[in-house]
Amino acid sequence: MGDNPSRSASTEAGGSGVTARHARPAGDGVSPIPPDDRPDNRPPLGGGGALPTKSRFSMETGFRGLSTAAGVMVLVIIAAIAVFLISKAAPALTANDANFLTTKEWFPNDTPPVFGIAALAFGTVLSSVIALLIAVPIAMGIALFLSHYAPKRLATPLGFIIDLLAAVPSVVFGLWGRDVFSEPVKDFSVWLNKYFSWIPLFGGEGPFGRSILLGSLVLAIMVLPIVTSLSREVFQQTPGMNEEAALALGATKWEMIRTAVLPYGKPGVIASVMLGLGRALGETIALALTLGTTFVISFNLIQSGGNSIAANIANTFGEANETGRGALIASGLVLFAITLVVNMAARAIIYRRREFRDSAA
């Protein structure tokens, strides 16, 4: 390693070829001990010789390489997924006899194949949005109760139970929704239809039960723990001194929460809602079990029917032929795109007031 001289070799740096003032080796100038008293005439630990050169291979470079590789791997995986989805979907999409984006029917196994994503995408978004409309207000209430109202002895076990709810497998939720929960939802739907059928959401002739409403309610229960526990976390992180500032201005507890806690937690709450939406959009088996599997675009919530992209994949992948599988993969691509748009929108909301958040440190 000719370009990387060892320490001992460099102790003489400055020892020759310089003016008389620097005639002694550089390290000796700062040493309180005369050179003769030191064993082996070596420079002292703190300031001997020239500055040591850095070694080229160290933990530093190794770790840097590892973390770079990990980062690159994410990009490679995403690219590989995109290439796989597109290459499998492309033949089916070219064989399709109808417009993929606007057609509601789904007959990819026929000859010629006719299929479109419109009804499925609509059902996916509608069921997820309604699930969030139901779940988010309740989750906010629970999160604020746990972080600011409940006594600590109650808040800790209750928070644990909420987290436990997130551990229930979605197939259990689906079966429960189909076999148990569908009865009361059906009765409720009939009641809604009787008194509120003038609202298009609750119109229709029946049958009721395995509807968007049932699927959304089950989804709402499933996203509730995610939104609750993340929101509780950010609410708890509100700086105590900001809460005290609000109280000292004469705020009641609720006013204090509105002034100090909610604005501070807003980015975190948005992030938690988006995570919940991500889960709702991608949820497969619970919706496959609770929705009525129809390919229509309707805002009617209580009539049996509805479908979603993921549920449709689960229901029809088994009997799909080559084109059918390509069509399902194309629908997965659309789901991917929807989720991406949702996530980007969330980021845009969070970053819009970044200046306020960053200066809060």
Binding site: P239, M241, N242, E244, A245, A246, L247, A248, L249, G250, A251, T252, E255, T259, A260, P263, Y264, K266, R353, E355, F356, R357, S359, A360
Partner: protein, 258 residues
């Protein structure tokens, strides 16, 4: 505007721990009263008892009587939010609301009290910021985040926020301990100015500051860790710093601690 505060036999507790024992003092309107003493002697606890911020902490309670112009602050029928509106507080570390702009910070208290009219809020914001000697520095960037100001500016913003709701009394809990000397001077100047309108009680570790700004000084101390803090001596600032009657006070202000 300003009102008299009277404490008689006030003891404050954190759960079973007695933090201060039987403090009695009278604070006259439109004066500055400084509370000094070693750390942990209960001066901040006493200060927080005056606007009922002490009870915010779990398990905290007080005994004794605290009145503002002969009204009992701790009367069970009294609305605690009204007490805090009447007796404003500035904290040790500047604590502007991080999500709010300078303007929103100043009018936050007014909005909490139901003031909605834009013109009223604008006037109050300008008046309070001028009173807090901050207007000239921020008038062109009222919509910028309040947390983006320097430490001294943030503390003056917090003072503006406190006086915007027109309290009778302003409590300050070591308001300059996180600030540099120039910002400290700015706050002290401000206190002289505010004295015309408010009764001010300030907790400080800086004895020069107490001597500079206050009319009266109260000295708190504890015998040993775990004992409750007591008000040792309370008198004119002049007298406390030149001719204290208690040995403990003299030891403390001359630096011979304990």
């Amino acid at each position: 505007m300003a009102k008299r505060i009277e404490a008689s036999g006030v003891s404050s507790y954190y759960g079973d721990f007695k933090a201060i024992d039987g403090v009695s003092m009278t604070v006259e309107p439109k004066t500055i009263t400084a509370l000094i003493g070693p750390s942990g002697c209960g001066k901040s606890t006493f200060l927080r008892s005056i606007n009922r911020m002490h009870e915010v902490l779990p398990g905290a309670r007080i005994e004794g009587k605290l009145t503002i112009d002969d009204q009992n602050i701790y009367d069970p029928d009294v609305d605690v939010t009204a007490v805090r509106r009447l007796i404003g507080m500035v904290f040790q570390r500047p604590n502007p609301f991080p999500t709010m702009s300078i303007y929103e910070n100043v009018v936050a208290g007014l909005k909490l009290n139901g003031v909605k009219k834009k013109s009223l809020l604008d006037d109050a914001a300008e008046k309070s910021l001028k009173s807090a000697n901050l207007w000239d520095e921020v008038k062109d960037r009222l919509n910028r985040p309040g947390a983006g100001l320097s430490g001294g500016q943030q503390q003056r913003l917090c003072i503006a926020r406190t006086i915007a709701v027109e309290p009778q009394v302003v409590l300050m809990d070591e308001p300059c301990s996180a600030l540099d000397p120039i910002s400290t001077l700015a706050i002290e100047d401000l206190m002289f100015k505010l004295k015309d309108r408010f009764t001010i009680i300030i907790v400080t570790h800086n004895m020069q500051q107490a001597a500079r700004v206050s009319d009266k000084t109260g000295f708190f101390s504890i015998d040993k860790t775990g004992d409750p803090g007591r008000l040792i001596e309370y008198d004119d600032t002049q007298k406390i710093f030149s001719n204290p009657t208690q040995k403990k006070t003299e030891d403390y202000i001359t630096g011979r601690f304990g």
